[in-house]
Point group: C2
Chain length 284, copies 2
């Protein structure tokens, strides 16, 4: 009864309302979980394997990608499970009924080998599962072994275009003489290219932000969008025109105004500006 | 990126926008379907069995309830599969992987017997499945065998309160000297109590609409709401105060106005009025 405000407020970046209570739906814990980790000699092969798993109709609970820069960072932090000669690691987890996960894990295993995995590790216990995950979970914390600062992007691309965009990101890194590392949720096409840098170098922050814009442009060019899970915030308002027409943005502003006519909620965030293609308080 | 308009426009009763294109997600057809049909000597037992199936953590693809009035109508229409001495029929369908449906069908079967089913039929072929469904699918068409007119309600109740509300509906029928038949989606607590009547009788339509209001009140009293799938439209605007505060309704009206300031879309439908607790053009 009434318009669906739960869907509207979810993901609205605190722009429309305060949540004073949240009702959640509990799902039963899956009966069975299977975790596989594959090593690849090529990042593009690894990306291609991720696309192929999805293309096979499997929807893993997790499908995570870790590139050679992250492996280097992890090894620097003392985590030696991922070998230094691997160009990428792909972690896959399927969950559900035992029969289903056995079948899906076997199919994932076959796809990984077919697409060039040099080694596939399968967790046989909870402890082994935790060990396969340790690198992925430690990735963000290990970045400091590459450089003092990092800038993490959050773009999304159709899962069938991931390999192409990874190649574009590598080109951007070379052209801009920056180090861009990749650790991301391949299962939903949600890339987190991360520029590692030293903010004390003159002009560096500007170069990094400019590279971030180029990465997002590459995502949008293949039919992706500006954010997978972290939102538009201040910074990405400058890119809204890439994905929304002026009319789209006007509708969003009208909606914002309906809930918050005095523009008091999360000021300066998307759609709180007076109109036109503008934005309050943002700038890149 | 931006507020989630798909969720907002879905179910908005044509009040906010025109849909000029719709993108849908395809789900794989389930590997296996199992269909069971149970006969009950008591409608309350049948309702209780529906609650118990949900309570057992099973989420059937279909869980349908047909009462003795509908059985009578079906028999009048020449469909004799449901015996005349049954007080209610419950149809259950589970779908998924073969192992899952075998397990769930066995559990459903046990619950149905435990809760007083006098007979459980299990489809062993596609033809048998179609035959188990035939009565449910023919119910609306058979109503004419009971009376020349029918008025179908669309209330929702928590699935744990279905039996209680079925009893309340029976009380309403007795008190108002009306025949109210029940055929509904028990799986989501979505009741469709249907008053069968003859509109040529003086004052009858008013009595029927009044009984409809009492049925909705009974749904709301146990924590349910005014509509499961058919919306508020014109008629149910009179009951909005039962489920939404004045502030809730003001927020809904602000939202409507943001998309349709001139109130041109589906005029007279919910939240198109000028404010207050009022409603444009509705009346019961």
């Amino acid at each position: 009864v009434g318009y669906d405000l739960a869907g509207l407020v979810t993901g609205s970046e605190g722009n429309l309302a305060f949540a004073t209570a949240i009702v959640v739906r509990l799902l039963p814990r899956p009966e069975s979980v299977r975790t596989l980790l594959a090593l690849f000699g090529s990042a593009l092969d690894a990306g291609d394997a991720c696309s192929a798993i999805i293309g096979a109709g499997i929807v893993p609970a997790a499908l995570e990608f870790v590139d050679r820069h992250v492996i280097e960072a992890l090894r620097g932090a003392g985590f030696l499970d991922y070998p230094s000669d691997a160009a990428a690691v792909v972690l896959v987890e399927v969950e559900g009924l035992a029969e289903q996960t056995a079948d899906e894990a076997a199919r994932v295993h076959a796809v990984l080998l077919e697409r060039g995995a040099t080694e596939v590790r399968v967790a046989e216990s909870a402890a082994e599962r935790a060990r396969l995950w340790a690198g992925r979970k430690g990735a963000a914390g290990a970045m400091g072994h590459l450089a003092p600062n990092y800038y993490i992007q959050d773009g999304v691309v159709p899962r069938s275009r991931m390999v192409e965009v990874l190649a574009r990101i590598e080109e951007i890194a070379e052209r801009e003489r920056l180090r861009i590392v990749n650790v991301f949720h391949a299962g939903d096409g949600n890339l987190h290219p991360t520029v590692v840098f030293d903010a004390r170098e003159a002009g560096m922050v500007e170069r990094v932000v400019e590279a971030g814009a180029q990465i997002l442009r590459a995502c949008v060019d293949v039919g992706g969008t500006l954010s997978g899970e972290h939102g538009i915030g201040l910074e990405k308002q400058a890119y809204l025109d890439w994905v929304m027409t002026a009319e789209d943005q006007a509708a969003q502003r009208a909606l914002k105004r309906a809930f918050d006519p005095a523009m008091r909620l999360n000021p300066g965030k998307p759609f709180s500006g007076p109109g036109g293609l503008g934005v309050a308080g943002a700038g890149v």
